[in-house]
Amino acid sequence: MLSLRVPSTSFHPRRFHAGALERRWRLGRDCFLSFSHPRGTRSLGVKSTKSEMAPFTAAEEETLPEGLHPELMPKHVAVIMDGNGRWAKNKGLQPWDGHRAGVEALREIVELCGKWGIQVLTVFAFSTDNWIRPKIEIDFLLNLFERTLKSELETLAKNNVRISIIGDSSKLPKSLLKVINEVEEVTKNNTRLQLIVAVGYSGKYDVLQACRGIAQRVKDGEIEVEEIDEKLIEQELETNCTEFPYPDLLIRTSGELRVSNFLLWQLAYTELFFAQELWPDFGRSGFIEALMSFQQRQRRFGGRKS
């Protein structure tokens, strides 16, 4: 999962007086999709090496590394970015340092997707299961997400990246919803890469909301129950915001061998790749390894290789 997830132990309510909240907010603001140079991080001693995401225009399109074939590149890659907390713990750092390192890794992957012709990248930011965390933590994280979206809007627009947010928006604060709508509106015509961020999302939730949508249409007399089929459900799922709703490749880092309820319906024929590295260590080499593994697989979709 994306590194919005901070372990609940660091958000003990007693420690959460105003000063601490302010300090953590300032430090944490630089995590998660922060492409601007972090301020106020002198005390951490961790500096990010890149200040801004390099623009990937057509002129700078990179040739693929050796071993990768352009015609076999996946159109849609989904990523479960797991392991930021563990990475920070292993290095003796604080959890938000892990998130910052996770952001660097994500930035790299987004750039590579843009350069290598991958058209959709879906990232798992916040699951419906994460709502059980303490309210203070959730408020902090959503606040962080909102501020980051605001600050990154210009960069994304410049890089021809389209952002879409999927997930249960009913629980999100109004200010965040406003920012999300604005970002989606401003970037909706961008064509280079579509970055789908799943916030408050889970595969089961998606099917449930599709079911409700269909039930409403049946109630309104628009369709008959007998007409409900796979195509109809596909149209009602939140991934209908993209031309390629089904990931070709799902990557999960940190060695965990499960899908954790991310993209249920859409993963029917997706090739799964489980990387041992923690997300901040994943980077270019890990991504190349995942893509090479994908390109070697025989996809038969239930049929036979003739």
Partner: protein, 330 residues
């Protein structure tokens, strides 16, 4: 196997023939796995005196002929069962999964690899399935689900589909035999899937088995045939729409969809094992495997064995405490 042609052959001669492969005696390589294990276990005591080994080999070869062959096989099976029971007792010290799911992939590749005719891969796959079920139920795993035939598989060549249907009909009927595994372990069998897509004979046989085993409750076998997870979800959504037609649609909850799923008769799988090394779900149990451990050994399905099961369970036990903690939070 062989017959002893000359009563005066000494143990040394037998051992020599055994190792070099000359003479009328089969070699070590030609023994089946059970006999190989027995021979290996006897080796330490016969290093100093090959005659002992020779005598034992004589005995094995003789008894493996007609008549006494069954006796030796049964003895070896008992030895195996005993050692398995010890192993399972050790495994049971840790948490065990309640529900295991298998995607039985690789039968045709196995047949091709061994140079066998097309249908025999699936037959070998069936034997592997029976062994795997035996291990699971001996270990005490209550639910086992297998992916026998997908709706997508109907797109294969008609001859292949027909031969698979014939094999399924034969094997489904055999489940009703008194000596079958169903009676040995008291298995309740479910056939999950869009059974309307099957031909009448197979569907009738499946329904008969479901009816006949309905009273069993010890362990459960779910066979997914003419199944697709997306199809299962579509059917569940249809039923939910009908059930809740008179109520506010916002009141449709996850449980409403879940109780309309065909797989609701079993809990979610703890482990999903797909053979042949492919790492994808292929439209199998998408709804139910959100939190399952996924395991994809390289072995083709007919080659799958006890070691793969043990390895999967050990990995499950390793991450179990962490997952339980997460579940409690939810």
């Amino acid at each position: 196997m062989c017959r002893r042609e000359n009563n005066d052959l000494s143990g040394n001669d037998v051992v020599q023939s055994f190792i070099t492969g000359s003479g009328s005696f089969p070699t070590f390589a030609s023994l089946n796995s059970q006999l190989r294990i027995l021979v290996l276990s006897l080796l330490p005591s016969t290093i100093s005196d090959p005659k002992n080994l020779g005598t034992v080999l004589h005995f094995i070869y003789l008894s493996s002929g007609e008549g006494m062959g069954g006796g030796i096989r049964q003895l070896l099976e008992q030895v195996h069962r005993l050692s398995r029971r010890c192993l399972f007792r050790v495994l049971s010290m840790g948490p065990l999964p309640t529900h295991l799911a298998f995607i039985m992939d690789g039968n045709r590749r196995y047949a091709k690899k061994r140079g066998l005719e097309d249908g025999s891969g699936h037959k070998a796959g069936f034997s592997a399935l029976m062994s795997m079920l035996q291990y699971c139920y001996e270990l005490g795993i209550k639910y086992v689900t297998v992916y026998a035939f997908s709706i997508d598989n109907f797109r294969r060549k008609p001859e292949e589909v027909q031969s698979l249907m014939d094999l399924m009909l034969e094997k489904i009927k055999s489940l009703l035999d008194k000596e079958s595994i169903v009676h040995e372990y008291g298995i309740r069998v479910y056939f999950i899937g869009n059974l309307g897509l099957l031909n009448d004979q197979v569907r009738a046989a499946a329904e008969e088995v479901m009816k006949a085993t309905a009273k069993n409750s010890r362990v459960v076998l779910l066979v997914c045939v003419a199944y697709n997870s997306t199809d299962e979800i579509v059917q569940a959504v249809k039923r939910s729409c009908v059930d809740k037609a008179d109520r506010d649609v916002e009141r449709i909850q996850l449980v409403d969809i879940e109780e309309n799923m065909q797989m609701s008769v079993a809990p979610e799988p703890d482990i999903l094992i797909r053979s042949s090394g492919e790492t994808r779900l292929s439209n199998f149990l998408l709804w139910q495997t959100g939190n399952s451990q996924l395991f994809s050994p390289d072995a083709l399905w007919p080659e799958i064995g006890l070691r793969h099961l043990v390895w999967a369970i050990l990995n499950f036990q390793r991450s179990h405490s962490y997952l339980e903690k997460k579940k409690k939070q939810l």
